[in-house]
């Protein structure tokens, strides 16, 4: 399981053998979690950092009137709560959408390893910064895009994120979300979610069958919603640029 963690971090930062050795020395627990189960509740102290190995989860809050807002989808390779492990308590809950395999990394282990391994620290920062960038894009999505573009944008984002972790086959990926999940994510009614997906189908952009979505025309779907993947900071799109930034490469020899 260390392997998954190392691979994840190496997609952001080149690690040395010492870094890898330190990551391999961590004692990690793998948990099987059923679908629609909380990994951690709002108000809990985040003692461990969760890494999703398999399955989908989400960050959410429930308002006083019972309305749920989903703020993030977590897919294989995503850290759940890296951004709050320094804080005292969770300000939101994390729950599974499907059955998940999650790794618990003790908070102390993260603290110890980051104290001695600057590249690991930077890789973790990178993860947290990308999470933030995704959150910003979701804010733009909710505030400024019409319903049909919002959902199309989400489908494009999931395609790229899942592709990066090898979970896309022939432009198809698992789509276990209910209409209510999407409605609670996009700030829409179930009715509008249903109509929008119908529209995307009729335009020949997507097919949705047996909880699998197929993007029939990736370029057209991206153009339809004005999708720009820059905020995902994926390795293949930014790697060469980043390596050419002088002040970044001069700072360390690794």
């Amino acid at each position: 399981m260390q392997d998954a963690l190392t691979r994840k971090l190496e997609s952001f930062e080149e690690l040395t053998n010492e870094d890898r050795g330190a990551l391999n020395a961590l004692t990690l627990k793998v948990r099987q979690v059923r679908a629609r189960t909380d990994l951690i509740h709002e108000g809990d102290a985040p003692d461990t950092v969760h890494l999703i190995l398999d399955g989908y989860a989400c960050r959410y809050k429930v308002l006083a009137d019972g309305q749920r807002q989903i703020m993030a989808y977590l897919v294989p390779g995503d850290f759940c709560d890296l951004n709050v492990f320094i804080l005292d308590q969770m300000d939101h809950s994390i729950g599974t959408i499907t059955a998940c395999q999650a790794v618990d990394i003790p908070r102390q282990a993260i603290e110890a390893i980051t104290a001695d391994h600057p590249r690991v620290t930077r890789a973790l920062w990178w993860c947290a910064l990308v999470d933030e960038a995704v959150l910003r894009e979701w804010l733009v999505n909710l505030g400024s895009r019409p319903a049909n573009h919002r959902i199309a944008h989400l489908l494009c984002e999931l395609l790229l994120r899942l592709e990066a972790v090898g979970r896309v086959t022939s432009n198809s990926y698992d789509f276990p979300f209910t209409q209510s999940d999407i409605a609670d994510t996009m700030g829409l009614s179930n009715v509008h979610v249903n109509r929008t997906i119908r529209e995307l189908r009729e335009l020949g952009l997507v097919a949705l069958k047996h909880r699998t979505v197929t993007i029939l025309d990736v370029e057209r779907l991206k153009a339809y919603c004005g999708f720009n993947p820059n905020y995902l900071h994926l390795r293949n799109t930014r790697w060469s640029n980043r390596r050419s930034v002088p002040w970044l490469s001069s700072g360390h020899g690794g």
Partner: protein, 87 residues
Amino acid sequence: MIGQNNIETLVVLQPIAVDTASPDRDGMLVMANGLLVGVLVRLDTPEHESFGGWFMEAGLGRLAGLRIPAFDTLEDATRWLRRHLKP
């Protein structure tokens, strides 16, 4: 105050065709005490979770921005509206 609680909101529905950019088009203008407060639309597309029900397509005033679950019948909708739009 006691008197006020007894005042019922008069809800009147008036058929109207609605463009929802979908096959759902049979709608009702919803008037509460003579004021337009929303538009209900019947969910005629079988893929809807509440197929056959009535959806508050648009809400005005106190109903603006609310995510109201679809109603099974117009009677349910009217009852809910009376309760939520008490004077």
